[in-house]
């Protein structure tokens, strides 16, 4: 059944569009009509040494794409199709693939190794293809190095594809032995050694048992460390990548090796080529990540039973580590601030320094200060920039006590540098450092204020001036202003920024209008800062925020008009920013009665603009406009109904947007806003909305994070339309029930799954709560009776699991109250059948969380009416 497809594959790579198109169609048809023959033909092509390399390579890629896809749903389909093939054909394909590994053509081997890993990814978890690993390991002892190299590459891909529990420990041991041997210094071929090093990177996740064994671990570590000294730069880089991976996977096993690793990394940072040096710095950044996590988790007090102890590697290495990192700061590239994609040793070193500061806190300050003092006034810009960057990097971590005095001295210097330094790079870093000062040392939580009545004016003058500098400097100045405003977010009714409000807003708007505002994110930063300034404004400046409404509306209006003329990406981005800004203003003004009334005078026009924006295709813009509409609906209340006919189609579009799931999620949230704003006036739209929500829930394509809010949204709808929810019960209830069954038990789930499960539980319970409250005092409460037992047993099981968070607890106890309240006596006898209900109630009544307690008191009241306590 092997077909001759060489020519088609070659045509598919033709430079002629027509031929290419035809060939692609032919391949797609072939796949559609006879999958078995299609796959066999591709594998045969790949294995055939007489065929041209181009067609062999493409055959391999097409084969790979017939087994796997990025999109989960499609991937599942492809896997099912492979599983359904007859065993004979599958065996023949596998034989072709393994055979290809010995090919003298590099591309054929390399493609084959990827395809083998894909097949293994499907079959090994099913305990099929048991002989694969054995036959691969057999290859290792073959002489030609290229076969050995391809085999090691295959093992690496395989480890990436398959989860560790699908492979038996003795096979893992053999794989690791083969890989580590391949990495060994006495391996003559660099190609083999590199492939082995890459393979080890992927295989580290399999090596749990081996890392627990001192001898095996010593051996692996020795080989990795030796590989960092290889004469081949690629091997050195790959070896450091292994060390980085080890630092996060096996942090607690590192104490024996950390001194040696320090010497190796220090040498690499100082002398080696940049790709290697970057990985060496990354090793320490990664150690910082680990220690920050551990210290955060345990809040600094360790006992013998802490799961992972903190070894304080960073603290111990500090006296040597800090000078090493400071050295890198002087190796800046000339234009790195203009280049969005830049990443070099100076940037990596500074980033690591910042992480070190967060890890050790105060201890870093005396080690960095001399460097700053020595360099900050030097004539060479590199020294001034490095000193400033070092200063900015250590502002997060050390205590305000330690930093305040220094910052008070430095602040004036920084303000002068931002105005007068001749070098743009220095100004950029200075503005960034000012932003860090305001982010970490300014705000209501900080005891001694850095910004006082005396220097506030000067700071603002300097920042506004810097907004006229080059785009990258102006962008950092906006960022600094952002944090300056944020520090006053809970200042009360009178903000020190009030006298400058008008001037600040004007400067930000001017920045957005600069011709070069598209560079260095300047326009985005200016609008985002405007948002924060508005969010943190007080009643004093409410009239000025009101004046901003027509200004932003006009800007948005302009983009809608010009959009028709030149539809390009930049326009969409600007629309997104403007919608975001309007949304922030609406939310601000809508939250207080006096300003809400004035805002609503613009409601018609704002709504028209938002609707206009939906004509634009960009997902970000839709999301921003949706968020804006939600805020507007909340501010408008029942009157929002007049916009519904026009808005509805976009609402439905949003709910159908599976691919850009953020849009879908935001739209679901807006449905909730609409329910609360319109109450029963939303009824005419509910058929459409519910249909769409139910479709969303049944879809495999929709990102799972959208599902919990959809359930909550059921509750919002039911609460709004009351007994009219009746017709949706027969669809909604079974969905809720099966989701509840799935989320009741979490045995063995990791933190991430547990967190998601709790979100799901919360959504389900919010749905029940809304439905129960919605039906209360109607003649149709008996429709809910058949579901009461299930709801109770759901609450019972999640209570028994003992892993719900406070949010779930609050919702669960509320549902219990709602159940008693709505179903009255009928619920009473049922509740008594679940003794855990009382335990839950008592637990909630004594909760430290105020809102849990509040819900519990409600539940107690409602339950006491139907159950004799």
């Amino acid at each position: 059944m092997v077909m001759e497809i060489t020519q088609i594959l070659l045509n598919a790579q033709s430079i002629e569009a027509l031929a290419r198109q035809q060939a692609e169609n032919t391949l797609a048809q072939f796949q559609e009509q006879n999958l078995t023959s299609f796959l066999l033909s591709l594998a045969g092509e790949l294995a055939n040494e007489e065929k041209p390399v181009e067609s062999r390579k493409l055959a391999g890629l097409v084969l790979k794409n017939a087994l796997d896809a990025k999109e989960q749903h499609r991937k599942y389909e492809l896997v099912q199709k492979w599983v359904a093939l007859d065993v004979g054909s599958k065996n023949q394909i596998k034989t072709f693939l393994l055979q290809s590994l010995s090919s003298t053509v590099h591309d054929a081997r390399s493609t084959a190794s990827q395809v083998i890993a894909k097949v293994a990814g499907i079959e090994l978890p099913q305990k099929q293809w048991p002989e694969l690993i054995g036959s691969l390991l057999g290859n290792i002892h073959q002489l030609p190095p290229h076969v050995k190299q391809a085999t090691l590459e295959t093992l690496g891909y395989l480890c990436e594809e398959v989860s560790p529990d699908a492979v038996e420990q003795d096979q893992v041991n053999k794989i690791l032995t083969a890989v580590v041997q391949g990495m060994n210094a006495n391996e003559p071929s660099n190609e083999v050694r590199l492939a082995a090093t890459h393979a080890l990177f992927n295989a580290l996740g399999f090596a749990q048992a081996n890392f627990n064994n001192d001898m095996e671990r010593d051996y692996i570590m020795r080989v990795v460390c030796e590989a960092t000294l290889s004469s081949d730069v690629k091997i050195r880089q790959a070896a450091f990548e292994c060390l980085v991976a080890i630092s996060s996977t096996y942090y607690e096993k590192l104490s024996h090796y950390i001194k040696d690793i320090f010497s190796i990394t220090a040498k690499a940072v100082k002398e080696d080529e940049e790709p290697v040096a970057l990985q060496a710095v990354e090793f320490w950044s990664s150690i910082c990540d680990e220690e920050i996590d551990i210290l955060e988790e345990y809040g600094g007090d360790f006992t013998g039973d802490s799961e992972i102890p903190c070894f304080y590697f960073i603290k111990q290495a500090l006296p040597a580590l800090v000078p090493m990192l400071l050295e890198t700061l002087l190796k800046q590239e000339e234009d790195q601030d203009q280049d969005e994609g830049a990443w070099n040793i100076a940037m990596a070193g500074g980033t690591c320094l910042g992480l070190v500061a967060r890890t050790v806190g105060d201890d870093i300050v005396p080690l960095v200060m001399p460097f700053i003092e020595e360099n900050i006034t030097k004539p060479d810009w590199r020294q001034r920039e490095a000193a400033t960057y070092a200063f900015g990097s250590i502002l997060e971590g050390p205590s305000p006590d330690k930093l305040t005095a220094i910052v008070n001295v430095a602040l004036n210097f920084m303000l002068t540098a931002l105005t007068k330094d001749p070098n743009s790079h220095v100004k950029d870093t200075t503005a960034w450092t000012l932003g860090r000062i305001f982010e970490f040392l300014h705000g209501s939580a900080v005891e001694t204020p850095i910004i006082t009545h005396a220097n506030c004016q000067q700071i603002i003058t300097v920042l506004l001036q810097a907004m006229k500098d080059t785009p990258n400097v102006a962008e950092k100045a906006c960022g600094a202003l952002y944090f300056l405003a944020q520090g006053y977010e809970d200042v009360g009714s009178s903000s020190p920024l009030t006298p400058y409000f008008q001037e600040i807003v004007q400067a930000l708007l001017t920045a957005t209008h600069r011709e070069d505002a598209g560079e260095a994110r300047l326009r985005t930063a200016a609008y985002e800062t405007l948002n924060e300034v508005v969010r943190c404004s007080t009643d004093e400046t409410a009239p000025l925020v009101l004046q901003l409404v027509p200004v932003i509306m006009m800007e948005l209006h302009k983009t809608l008009e010009s959009h028709n003329l030149s539809p390009d990406g930049k326009q969409g981005e600007l629309q997104g920013l403007l919608c975001g800004c309007l949304q922030v203003i609406i939310q601000k003004l809508g939250s207080a009665e006096p300003t809400r009334a004035v805002l609503l005078q613009y409601a018609d026009q704002i709504m028209q603009l938002f609707l206009g924006v939906f004509a634009c295709r960009s997902a970000t813009v839709h999301e921003e406009a949706m968020l804006g509409i939600g805020a507007l609906a909340y501010a408008t209340g029942p009157d929002f109904v007049k916009y519904m006919n026009e808005f509805y189609k976009y609402l439905e579009m949003g709910l159908q947007n599976f691919e850009e799931y953020q849009v879908c999620a935001v739209t679901v949230g807006v449905v909730g806003d609409l329910c609360r704003a319109l109450e029963d006036k939303i009824l005419p739209y509910c058929d459409g909305i519910m249909t769409q929500l139910l479709k969303d829930l049944s879809s495999n394509q929709l990102h799972r994070s959208v599902k919990p809010p959809i359930f909550s949204c059921f509750g919002d709808i039911a609460l709004a339309i009351g007994e009219n929810f009746e017709k949706y019960l027969m669809y909604a209830m079974p969905m809720l029930q099966s989701a509840a069954d799935l989320s009741a038990h979490t045995a063995g789930a990791d933190d991430e799954i547990l967190e998601y499960t709790n979100l799901l539980r919360n959504g389900i319970l919010e749905a029940y709560s809304g439905i129960l409250q919605g039906f209360k005092n109607t003649s149709k409460t008996q429709l809910l009776l058949p579901h009461a037992r299930h709801i109770l047993s759901f609450i019972d099981s999640i209570y028994q699991e003992k892993d719900m968070d406070d949010a779930v607890m609050k919702t669960a106890i509320g549902v219990l109250g709602d159940l008693a309240d709505t179903l009255a006596a009928s619920a009473g006898s049922l509740i008594q059948q679940f003794p855990s209900c009382r335990d839950l109630l008592n637990e909630c009544l004594s909760s430290d969380d105020h809102s849990v307690k509040q819900s519990a008191e409600w539940a107690k009241l409602a339950i006491s009416r139907v159950v004799s306590v």
């Binding site: 790709p275 970057l278 990985q279 980033t351 924060e532 939310q587 509750g715 209360k776 709602d818 009241l861």
Partner: protein, 405 residues
Amino acid sequence: MPTHEIRRAYKRPAISDQQKRRELSLLRQQQNRFDAQSHARRLASTLLSFNQPPSSSSSSSEPHCISEEHDEGDEGDEDVYEEDNDDDQLQNGTQLNQIKDVRQASKLRGQESRRWFARQLMLPEWMIDVPDCLTLDWFVLARPAGKRCFVVSINGTTVSRQRNGSVLHYFPSALPSGARTRENSGSAQSYCILDCIFHEMDQTYYVIDILCWRGYSLYDCNADFRFFWLNSKLSESGACKPPSHYHKYRFSPVPVYNCDQSGLLSAYTEKVPYVKDGLLFYNKHAHYQSGNTPLTLVWKDEKCSQYVIDTDSAGKVPSKQQVVLELQSDGKVTTSDDPPVVFGCLDQEFLLKSGLSPGNLLRFSISDGGLTFVDGKLEKADLQYQDKPNRARAFADSYSKAISI
């Protein structure tokens, strides 16, 4: 294959503003959902309390009359309250706690409504020492002598209630929604809540705080803003005008000063149209919260108050200073603070003989031993049981009041 480049955010904030916008929207939606649910549940709680048999004396709808005597006519009711057992009180308390909204509460009747309103006033502590930053962070005003009241104007009526929750007056007023006139009826949403002192001599409500204005809640606004709002809105409404047919009593703001030297001097010595009863201090940043708070303070001395020393029911100064404390179930007697401060403990025998029950308020006189302090904490109090205080009293004294005696 490993990724060859591990990049980290460089000179970028950890979270984008767009993400922040998303999260703030979510937060608002969550809060709104919770509010909507609580609203549904709160309505339920009110209905539940309606379903309970109404007490006989207050079941009839209240006429629009001045009814200072009204309380006294409710004696039977008070007795029911006294005899309530512990559980029932807890139960009822829970129920009343659900009612956060004056619109609901104003539908309550009889003792329930009194007990709800008795919890709503912010009660100052006695000034024992001078707070830090007094000059910067505090306001001062000369407290008018008279009855502290919680005044609500809603649905065309104005009701004033005293500290214990009992009604002082039902009357029409020029406050928004305060009378049934065309220009003033408004919707149920435009109700007002004021914290006042009723000054007998000129029959005026002196407004010392504002909690709601035209349905706009000021509970979560700081004192600074509340006073600003009070001064701008009250006169606008016409409530400060002399009494008329649809405006039974005059309202008046009270001059508020900063706590600098001249402000203090003004509050202390300046002539005002009312009899002074001490000075009230408000922390500018504090929100309105019901119950005792150290963020409002009261100071009294001979110069600024004629009531510096407690009088007994006949208006005579008792020979010994007195303190009212609440009896707990374990026999301890405590102040009204949260947490309560224990002043002493009654022995079981005495309890049995006296027939007192937990929750009762008891009046003690402070004997020669006085109060003894160790390290600033009350160590010992030489108390002598006197009697039960006036029934209209809803609270024990606070710690700060007891020790400033």
